[in-house]
Amino acid sequence: MRSRRLATVLVAPGTAYLILVFVSIVALLFSYSARSERTAALVAPVDWATWQNVLTDAYTWQVLTTTVLLGLVVSVLTVLVAYPLAWCVHTMRRPWQATTMLFVIFSPILVSVVVRTYGWAMLLRENGPFGSLFDGWLYHQPGVIVALVHVELPFAVFPILAAIRSVPPELGRAAADLGAGPLRRFLRVQLPLTMPGVLSGIQLVFALTISAFATPALLGGGRVTVLAQTIYQSIQQLQWPTAAAQAVLLLILALLVLTLFTGLARLVSGGRAAR
């Protein structure tokens, strides 16, 4: 059919890039990971020892678990904060209020990550402005989570906002007319219809979180170690095979979770989200 052909033509350039670049990278990483020799040359004898080491290393699994859990916690928290916030912005009557709020939400990504974490370190300190309110957050998991939610908030708010705006207001009214209270209207009509935005937000946030390096490194105090840090170390140590294997592992897990999100979203929205 015609639309099929058009679809192919439209997806082609992006996919071509993705294949040329991303697939090359994955192939490269895979080739690196399947060698024991520490060389960055394109070809080297195949050896699965590295995979064996990585897969049997308890520490790697522990870090991987931390990474994925951190990704899940941060993405869920971010969406939980972002959804109501997006709704609040959507219902703002005066354009200048909305514009201001949009800018505020955007502002964290304008600030370099090192400086931003410095700000958080200042805030969460024991003798900081909030006193002992955040005792034990800094250089522990909660501090890392808070700072990540902070910077990734815009990546969730904006897709959700765009989705909320595209829902015909009449549908919410129809639901109200049929006796659905605010909660039901939200769960059964608003949420499913805005699921594409939520999905987009949660996917972006998750992907960004599990690849984050600086924030966990600076605010984790060595207690929160994510795979990006381990990979960074391996590269500094010239252990290309280990770094590559870990990266491939992370990528596979990421793909798994990202697709899982799609499935979940489809479940919530009754089959529409993926469209």
């Binding site: 015909p168 009449e170 549908l171 009214r173 129809a174 639901a175 109200a176 007319d177 049929l178 006796g179 659905a180 209270g181 039901r184 209207r185 059964r188 009509v189 499913p192 219809l193 929205s269 009754g270 089959g271 529409r272």
Partner: protein
């Protein structure tokens, strides 16, 4: 299958959008258990009024009392009303069955009881076999029927219908009219139905309100409105009518038996016109046949007077007519009504 019927009292309801006033202090009482139709031209405020009744919108002035309780500001989900939206407003992410079940689920209904009610409602609109389909794959008329089923299934005290049958073919319309009427009588629900179809209103309604530009011109039974329109607008709007403005007795080249009083116009229904040979005794004036249409039972002829006025005549099937012919216009004096202009 019973519901506590509710009367509706609308008093002085005004609604403005920005600078434009769409409803001008409307007052109307609708008896409990009755089938009330709202009739009026496009854009006169019918949908707006329905939304106010359903609680989807709040009037700028005035009050709305339903079943003795004031509901002016009650949110939609707490009102004993349900609305069939003019646009359908089906939930695109739910199957037909889930759309219809939505309202009942809101009330906490579950299981076989829910299923029975939903199926019953779908059968009523002859959509039983479409239960599993998504709205996007339905035709216009099918969508409209689901919208009806979705509201009906809730068995509200007051059912509001905004042009519920406009996308249906006549056979289905007739069927649905009967079903709606039957349902209304069996359950004792109060129905308020917007329609632009006068035949529908006349067939189905206990009472009809004719709206015009945000006001109600007249309320009454079909017969009352047809026989004794209080305003020229109603006269022209209920059924078809030829309206003659001017001092008389000769208007637009037609001679009338009685002249119109000041501030009045004369009306003549199309089915009361006859065509005779030009210049014959019966003829009260000459006209030219403009268009000839066939409705099955009758012939509808578009006529034009010497002054260029367009008239409509509805003649018995079989009347021989050719467009362009010059003929005479005849009618009985008793069929001429004078109404305020």
């Amino acid at each position: 299958m019973t519901a506590s019927a509710s009367s509706i009292e609308i008093s002085g309801v005004t609604r403005r959008f920005g600078a434009a006033t769409v409803l001008h202090g409307i007052s109307l009482t609708i008896a409990a258990n009755s089938f009330h139709c709202l009739l009026g031209p496009s854009g006169c405020g019918k949908t707006t009024l329905m939304h106010l009744l359903a609680g989807l919108d709040v009037p700028d002035e005035g009050t709305i009392v339903i079943g003795g309780t004031e509901h002016t500001r009650t949110p939609a989900h707490r009102r004993p009303t349900n609305l069939v939206f003019q646009s359908g407003a089906l939930f695109p992410h739910m199957s037909v069955r889930d759309n219809v079940a939505f309202g009942l689920r809101s009330d906490g209904l579950k299981g076989p009881a829910l299923r029975t009610r939903v199926d019953e409602s779908l059968e009523l609109v002859a959509m039983g076999e479409f239960a599993g389909r998504m709205p996007a794959t339905l035709s216009g008329g099918q969508r409209q029927r689901i919208a009806i089923a979705r509201a009906l299934v809730k068995r509200p005290d007051v059912l509001l219908l905004d042009e519920p049958l406009s996308a249906l073919d006549l056979a289905l319309q007739l069927h649905m009219r009967r079903e709606l009427k039957r349902w209304q009588q069996e359950t004792g629900t109060t129905f308020v139905c917007v329609t632009h179809n006068q035949a529908e209103a006349m067939e189905i309604a206990d009472e009809i309100s004719v709206m015009r530009a945000g006001t109600i011109e007249q309320t009454g039974s079909a017969q009352e409105l047809y026989a004794a329109p209080e305003t020229r607008f109603v006269a022209g709007f209920i059924g078809e009518n030829n309206i003659f403005t001017g001092p008389g007795p000769v208007i637009d080249g037609i001679t009338f038996p009685t002249p119109a009083a000041d501030g009045q116009v004369l009306t003549l229904r199309p089915e009361h016109l006859r065509l005779v040979e030009a210049g014959s005794d019966d003829s009260r004036g000459g006209v030219r046949v403009d268009t000839v249409g066939f409705t099955g039972r009758t012939i509808r002829a578009g006529l034009r007077t010497g002054t260029g006025r367009e008239l409509l005549a509805e003649l018995p099937a079989g009347t021989p007519l050719t467009p362009g012919a010059e003929v005479g216009l005849a009618f009985d004096a008793g069929h001429v009504y004078a109404v305020p202009s």
